[in-house]
């Protein structure tokens, strides 16, 4: 259509004068006139005057105004959309089964089997732990991989290279951070951590090892342990922490933890059935510990990368 509106302007025209006039044109007409194939004449060895291209000037004010306009419209549109969504969502939700109803569709044979046969088949009294590590173990493997993935991508974003690659600005910022670090070690925090950190670790271990028979398990235990390490580091500084948690230990623990999990799970799904039924009863504890290691490493690692760009 645009092509018909500009008759006799063949896009492959070799006539240099066709593109030389200074009339204002839309991008499309410009394009049809050969803006993007400006080199065909050169291809035919026909020297031509280089055409003046309209230079795109960055017009600050105009663009700011456009942005303001856009954001205003966007605000209105999203508010409207959210209101509509709220109404529909509330309506949908009100017609769902009543809260706490034992006859709801969700309370079918699935939870019944998990509850009655889970303790026998898996050896774990905590039905949630039994479910996430054996019945639906694949989801949990994926979940650990999400954690690992988050850690790897944070590393990709924030890990510093050797000091030589840093800009001067970053180096001064780092020096400032290093100078500021001892100041954060205030008396109350140090004394409180002396008392608290052992208890946090103890509680973390209890939650980790008791995950089979009481609430808890690898995920919460790992988070508690990592909170303990973070507190320790905050109170006693990074040198003290590096005695037991440096990069080498970190990589080793993370890789070994994930590998244990993946290999065990691989064995669990690939081995023949009669081996599986033996394996199932002993599977939860090692996987639980592996998950605890992974979560602890991930959370501490992300914290360390956030603080200093290294582990």
């Amino acid at each position: 259509m645009g092509r018909q509106s500009t008759p006799r302007k063949n896009p492959w025209a070799l006539d240099p004068s066709a593109s030389g006039d200074g009339r204002k044109r839309s991008a499309f007409v410009d394009w049809v006139n050969g803006d993007r194939i400006l080199h065909l004449s050169a291809a035919l060895h026909e020297p031509r005057e280089r055409r003046k291209r309209p230079i795109l000037v960055f017009n600050e004010e105009k663009m700011a105004a456009q942005l303001v306009q856009f954001f205003r419209r966007y605000h209105m549109a999203t508010t409207l959309m959210c209101a509509v969504l709220l109404v529909i969502f509330a309506w949908v939700v009100i017609t769902l089964p009543r809260f706490g109803d034992s006859a709801a569709p969700a309370n079918n044979e699935l939870p019944a089997v998990y509850l009655t046969e889970g303790p026998v088949e898996t050896g774990a009294d905590n039905a949630v732990t039994a479910m996430i590590f054996t019945y639906r173990g694949f989801d949990t493997l994926g979940e650990s991989c999400v954690l690992f993935l988050a850690l790897s991508s944070v590393m990709m974003l924030l890990r510093r290279e050797d000091g030589s690659m840093l800009s001067a600005q970053e180096r001064t910022a780092l020096a400032k951070a290093a100078a500021a670090e001892p100041k954060t070690r205030n008396y109350i925090i140090v004394q409180m951590s002396r008392i608290l950190v052992p208890f946090i670790f103890l509680y973390g271990l209890y939650v980790l090892l008791g995950g089979e028979s009481s609430p808890g398990g690898g995920f919460s235990a790992g988070a508690i342990l990592s909170a303990g390490i973070i507190l320790y580091r905050h109170a006693f500084g990074s040198e003290a922490t590096e005695r037991f948690m440096n990069e080498r230990v970190f990589v080793a623990v993370r890789t070994v933890g994930l590998c244990i999990y993946a290999v065990l799970f691989g064995a669990y799904i690939l081995l023949p059935d009669d081996v599986k039924s033996h394996l199932t009863a002993h599977l939860i504890m090692p996987i639980d510990v592996a998950v605890g290691m992974v979560v602890m490493c991930t959370m501490y690692g992300i914290y360390a990368l956030f603080i200093r760009g290294e582990i």
């Binding site: 079918n108 999400v146 690992f148």
Partner: protein, 496 residues
């Protein structure tokens, strides 16, 4: 004892996860590259074997992930279609890595190179799971994995605009997976199951009694919107051009070629296996998808015409091509979905090849991005020029190339649904013209004589040569021997 090929899907997934875990501990970028390519090759071969074993008997099977069967444990379901798609994904990932390797060394910091291959392994794992899974919640977890790893692939090129593009991509994707999760939650509370087969059975019961009709309609809408955001369906496409064009070549190729397809495949599986096409038709979801697909097709092409930057032009073209796929799904018939699946294969191979070739062509001229700065670059790397030309012609739909067959199938499949025939044919014709309008000038540009001497000519790149040669062969093969491939897709769809 199960026959050996029943283990192939789970072995592939475990291989991807394990190699990702181990690669994170590797420091040497070159070794990680070799491992990444090796992984893609091994999984491609394994999927090929699976396809070869399944096809003669037209068989599909479910594989129990662990000790506990169907409603209690996780399951995978594999058939010829899934095997074909995963083979294509592995192939595309491998070829993209090969083709983009030179750019990777240029764009990614050397000590972070091995992490890049961690991300590609996890992307591959997520694609495999999204294709094979028979469980909704596993689908959610691996959608998140694919989101995060895709974002990491985008931001591998450590520059400001890339980071902002990543952020927008991340937020929109998370919104999409949030919508998907609500869908899963509501579906669970309505049916009480998470495995697709059981959910499907419950839905049939619910529809016969007429309970929870509102919820079911809302759920399908949520799934369509959530997965649509992640695969750049028309009104939710704004994140794609920035994210796919500002990053390094291999990432662009992988993202455009495979990642946006994974969620579409999940949508197709949900439509066929859980909700059934009859229900989708009855709720008119297919009409909405159809309209959005057509709009995406035309809007993407028009935006591509206006674009002056080469990779961004290809990214806009991806939106248009996703429009084809959604149009196919929106026809609401099995033939339409088969055409969409074929187009998934076509676009995956052609677009990854296009991105690799454009990366190489711009590398020849000192990594310049604008289309006009690529003038004459094809004369310095003939193979890249041929690859670009063939890929572009395939996207336009020239016979003997892959794109022609998929357009043909899309056109013939509209004959079943009379109300949509005219619209589809018109949109196909229009978008073919529009495609030609931006691809042909680009082809002319890269083959024209260069105006000035090119800056910094890149050295020979043997990895790219291999990748381009294989991609060209695949595109021509798909274009010539489309009938057997279509046969596999049709058999696979009937077994889904």
């Amino acid at each position: 004892m199960l026959p050996f090929y029943h283990y192939i899907p789970s072995v592939c997934i475990l291989l991807c996860l394990l190699s990702a875990i181990l690669l994170a501990a590797v420091r040497n970028g070159r070794a990680a590259f070799a491992a990444g390519i090796g992984l893609a090759a091994v999984t491609a071969v394994l999927s090929g074997v699976l396809l070869f074993m399944l096809m003669p008997a037209e068989e599909s099977f479910t594989f129990v992930m662990g000790h506990f069967p169907a409603p209690f444990g996780n399951e995978l379901k594999a058939g010829p279609l899934q095997a074909l798609l995963t083979m294509c994904f592995s192939l595309v990932v491998g070829l993209s890595l090969l083709g983009g390797w030179a750019d990777l060394k240029h764009d990614v910091q050397p000590d972070k190179l091995s992490l890049y291959f961690v991300m590609t392994s996890l992307t591959l794992a997520a694609l495999y799971v999204l294709t094979y899974t028979n469980d909704m919640f596993t689908g959610y977890v691996f959608i998140e994995i694919s989101t995060l790893s895709a974002c990491a692939l985008v931001m591998a090129k450590d520059r400001g605009p890339t980071l902002v593009a990543t952020l927008r991509y991340l937020f929109l994707s998370l919104l999409g997976s949030g919508l998907f999760l609500i869908g899963v939650v509501l579906l669970y509370s309505v049916t009480g199951h998470l495995l697709m087969k059981q959910v499907g059975q419950q839905i049939i019961v619910l529809r016969s009694t007429g309970r929870f009709g509102l919820q079911l309609a809302f759920i399908i809408g949520l799934f369509t919107a959530g997965l649509g955001v992640k695969s750049a369906m028309f009104p939710f496409h704004r994140w794609l051009p920035d994210a796919h064009s500002s990053t390094t070549t291999a990432s662009s190729a992988i993202l455009s070629g495979t990642v946006i397809k994974g969620t579409v495949i999940l949508l197709i599986i949900l439509f066929c296996r859980v909700f059934t096409l009859g229900m989708v038709n009855a709720l008119h979801i297919d009409d909405v998808v159809f309209a959005l697909g057509i709009m995406g097709m035309i809007f993407g092409s028009i935006s591509a015409i206006r674009e002056r930057q080469s990779k961004r032009m290809l990214a806009w073209s991806s939106i248009a091509q996703m429009g084809y796929i959604f149009t196919g799904i929106g026809l609401g018939t099995r033939a339409g979905i088969a055409a969409a699946c074929f187009h998934i294969l076509v676009h995956a191979t052609s677009k990854s090849m296009l991105f690799c070739c454009v990366g190489r062509l711009s590398a020849v001229n000192g990594h310049r991005k604008m289309l006009k700065e690529m003038q004459g670059t094809a004369r310095h790397d003939i193979l890249a020029g041929i690859g670009f030309t063939l890929g572009a012609l395939s996207m336009i739909g020239i016979p003997l190339l892959a794109g022609f067959a998929s357009k043909l199938y899309l056109a013939t499949s509209t004959m079943d649904s009379a109300s949509k025939t005219a619209a589809t044919l018109f949109a196909l014709a229009l978008s073919t013209v529009l495609n030609a309008l931006y691809y042909i000038p680009a082809i002319v540009t890269v083959w024209a004589y260069p105006e000035d001497a090119l800056i910094g000519r890149a050295p020979r790149d043997s990895a790219f040569t291999v990748s381009a040669a294989v991609s060209i062969a695949v595109v021509i093969l798909l274009g010539v021997a489309y009938a057997p491939v279509m046969h596999i897709i049709e058999v696979g769809l009937s077994l889904l």
